[in-house]
């Protein structure tokens, strides 16, 4: 990681990462990559998000699914932690709440593999600028 020496440097990094540089580093087919975000704020972790993240990470690899699992902050659905957001290639992100390892397994097998929704979707109820 080099120093950012000017505003132009910063803009370049911003542009690169907007195009998904991270994803390209992680996959040879970024356009087919499944993205999973686990809400890992205190509320999520307290409800077991760490375990879910580890589970998803290892299971997706075991099942040979081209996916990237990252952590993120609080989505606001504290009543339904742990929450994860799954984005299938070319589709809108879907949030699942109260995720257990069993539920995670179901999400992988049904939603991620076949696109079939499973119980426990948390409807998105806000707009972000």
């Amino acid at each position: 990681m080099g120093k950012i020496k000017s505003l132009d440097d910063l803009k370049k990094i911003s542009k690169d990462y907007k195009k998904g540089l991270d994803l390209r580093e992680k996959s040879s087919h970024p356009e087919e990559l499944v993205q999973v975000k686990v809400a890992m704020a205190t509320c999520g972790i307290a409800s077991g998000a760490k375990e879910i993240m580890e589970y998803l990470d290892s299971e997706l690899e075991k099942r040979a699914i081209d996916a990237v699992v990252t952590q993120t902050g609080c989505m606001g659905y504290c009543y339904a932690e742990p929450t994860i957001e799954v984005t299938l290639p070319g589709q809108e992100a879907v949030v699942y709440g109260n995720v257990t390892t069993e539920k995670a397994d179901e999400i992988i097998e049904k939603y991620i593999k076949t696109g079939e929704f499973v119980d426990g979707i948390i409807p998105r109820n806000y707009e972000t600028i």
Partner: protein, 597 residues
């Protein structure tokens, strides 16, 4: 891919469930099976849509059709019309209340726009431990623009013009605060981020720091540029280990990129940030107490003036801003003051984050534009009251705020309206109460907190609050006479009028607002010795209903204080003078002969 071509999402939130959403699910599946469609269309239960007022909700995917007010009887039509024939069931389509137009597509409906995330915009979106994700969301761009193109004066003016007010509670103009600190000449100045979030139930600052730490760092650097400071301090409570860890990571990454440190982005501006830990004292959220605590002194407030903008940390001019306030700053620079001031009400611009808690279905963190009503927050975003109970009050502003009632539900939330209604914005805790909550006990709960958290420096707060608590306890235990209500008010007013800092000046608010809004409930406690909500144990009495009692003597045998007497096979009686209200008799009685009143 899956064999399902369509999904029917049925809201499984508590509100909708109370209106038979499970039965709707069942009926939908039935209808599908009847038509052998169960392998093509899947029925799902989801979390709350937050639109409980118009529940139960059924959403059809992939076309996003949004049915409201669905009953089990509508299941057949949804399957027969929509699923089979592809025709929307128009009677179930949401009608926009202002335009009276039917809006079938949920994406075009207003209710999902009730929430607007500005301060929380990156929370739950980016990985807080990856600076690149922040930069990809235009992170540090505001700082870069400011330090290369804008003078400190112009930048400060922009913040002032945006109308941003402090989110920590008092709502002081952020730009003006910066201007005052900038105007004090000094060789050294400090930017302090107040992350000593202490209101019971409030956790938005923690969430922002955990989910988007760079946002706050960037804002502090911008502030440093504006006021002429090259040092920033984040005062954070040690009980926030994850936030501390993420901040440390963020600071390290920003330093590695040269976004903190000397000559940021090749400019003359240098700025660095250090963490200072607090031990979690509520009073240290008061800026002078916070500064004393950072200096290694006892965390207690001192008289203002001098304000920190003149004499703060180490005696130098210091600008103290709350986390949420700072989280709004970078985006204001990116989108402009006009954009920000177009959101909200006349005097309160932008959004406010609330931590919804209490007897509400969707406990969580929400962010709404200023001017949103309490009703919208509680019933449309919060999903209404748990277990279908009746709404009684909402407490805003934490221990400094007040309890608002049904009459205030349509009040647009902003700094001034809440104060006028007898509460305050505070840091954004919002606790909802239902019919089972005793308002005297609620006031007592808050006083208990204040008594615990008073620093003890000034007499009215140190002793007065304790006396208020004792008097409330006295009332709850049924020993108070009607006259004590006047004493309660008098003490509250004097404590407000004479306390040194904001803690004592606002601590009687929960008492005064409940006295104003629920006087009858207080009166019932002291005159009738009754707790209408049935919460105050000392005011309850256990009775034996003569008709139901068979005289089995089970209750008398289990009573630890021998308060129950009576002959075998004849109705028994409880001696109220002896009864300690343990409830053992009621538990034991097999004939429902014992009741509480």
């Amino acid at each position: 891919m899956s064999g399902y071509s369509m999904h029917l999402l049925v809201c499984g939130g508590t509100g909708c469930r109370a209106s038979h959403s499970e039965e709707i699910e069942f009926k939908l599946r039935n209808e599908l099976e009847k038509r052998n469609l169960e392998d093509t269309v899947k029925v799902l239960s989801t979390g709350c849509f937050g639109f409980c007022e118009k529940g139960p909700i059924v959403k059809v995917m992939p076309d996003n059709t949004f049915y409201t007010g669905v009953t089990p009887g509508d299941a057949e039509d949804i399957i027969a019309e929509h699923v089979v024939l592809g025709r929307t069931v128009s009677r179930l389509i949401y009608e926009d209340p202002s335009s009276k137009e039917k809006v079938p597509d949920s994406k075009k409906m207003g209710f999902s726009k009730k929430q607007l995330r500005i301060a929380l915009r990156n929370c739950g979106f980016i990985n807080p431990e990856n600076i690149n994700e922040y930069i990809a969301r235009e992170g540090y761009m505001a700082l870069g623009n400011v330090i290369t193109d804008i003078s400190p004066e112009d930048a400060t003016r922009l913040v002032k013009d945006s109308g941003l007010r402090g989110r920590g509670g008092a709502g002081f103009s952020t730009g003006l605060k910066w201007e005052l600190t900038a105007a004090t000449p000094s060789d050294e100045k400090y930017v302090v981020c107040n992350a000593d979030e202490g209101d019971p139930g409030a956790f938005m600052d923690r969430s922002i720091l955990e989910g988007d730490p760079h946002n706050v760092l960037e804002a502090m650097a911008i502030c440093g540029y504006c006021i002429g400071a090259d040092k920033g301090l984040i005062y954070i409570r040690a009980e926030y280990p994850l936030a501390i860890e993420r901040l440390k990571t963020a600071i390290k990454q920003a330093r590695e990129y040269g976004l903190l440190g000397k000559n940021i982005m090749g400019s003359d501006f240098s700025f660095d940030i250090e963490l200072k830990y607090g031990a979690g004292a509520f009073v240290c959220g008061e800026e002078t107490a916070l500064i004393h605590s950072m200096e290694g002194l006892r965390g207690e407030p001192s008289l203002k003036p001098p304000f920190p903008s003149v004499k703060g940390y180490n005696g130098k001019p210091t600008n103290v801003n709350n986390v949420e306030t700072l989280a709004n700053v970078p985006i204001i620079f990116l989108k402009g003051a006009d954009w920000f001031s177009s959101i909200g009400t006349e005097k309160s611009k932008g959004t406010k984050v609330f931590a919804l808690a209490g007897k509400i279905n969707n406990v969580g963190l929400i962010e709404v534009p200023m001017g949103t009503t309490l009703r919208e927050v509680i019933f449309e975003i919060g999903g209404g009251i748990k277990d279908g109970k009746k709404f009684k009050a909402v407490q805003t502003g934490g221990p400094s705020g007040g309890c608002l009632t049904e009459n205030h539900l349509d009040t647009p939330i902003d700094f001034d309206n809440l104060i006028e209604a007898g509460s305050m914005m505070g840091s954004g805790g919002m606790i909802v109460m239902d019919e089972d909550d005793c308002m005297v006990s609620v006031a007592k709960f808050y006083l208990d907190f204040t008594v615990e958290e008073s620093c003890g420096k000034c007499a009215p707060c140190r002793i007065g609050n304790k006396r208020l608590y004792e008097l409330l306890d006295h009332i709850c235990s049924g020993k108070g006479k009607v006259e004590v209500l006047d004493r309660l008010r008098l003490m509250s007013e004097v404590i407000k009028d004479t306390s040194l800092c904001g803690l004592g000046q606002t601590s009687p608010n929960p008492v005064l607002s409940t006295l104003d809004n629920f006087y009858d409930e207080y009166h019932a406690h002291v005159s009738d010795k009754k707790c209408p909500a049935g919460q105050c144990k000392d005011l309850m009495e256990y009775f034996i209903i003569e008709e139901n009692c068979v005289g089995c003597t089970a209750c008398a045998r289990v009573c630890p204080v021998n308060a129950i007497t009576g002959e075998r096979k004849k109705p028994h009686e409880i001696n109220q003078d002896i009864c300690i209200k343990c409830g053992a008799c009621m538990e034991k009685c097999k004939f429902d002969a014992i009741i509480i009143q």
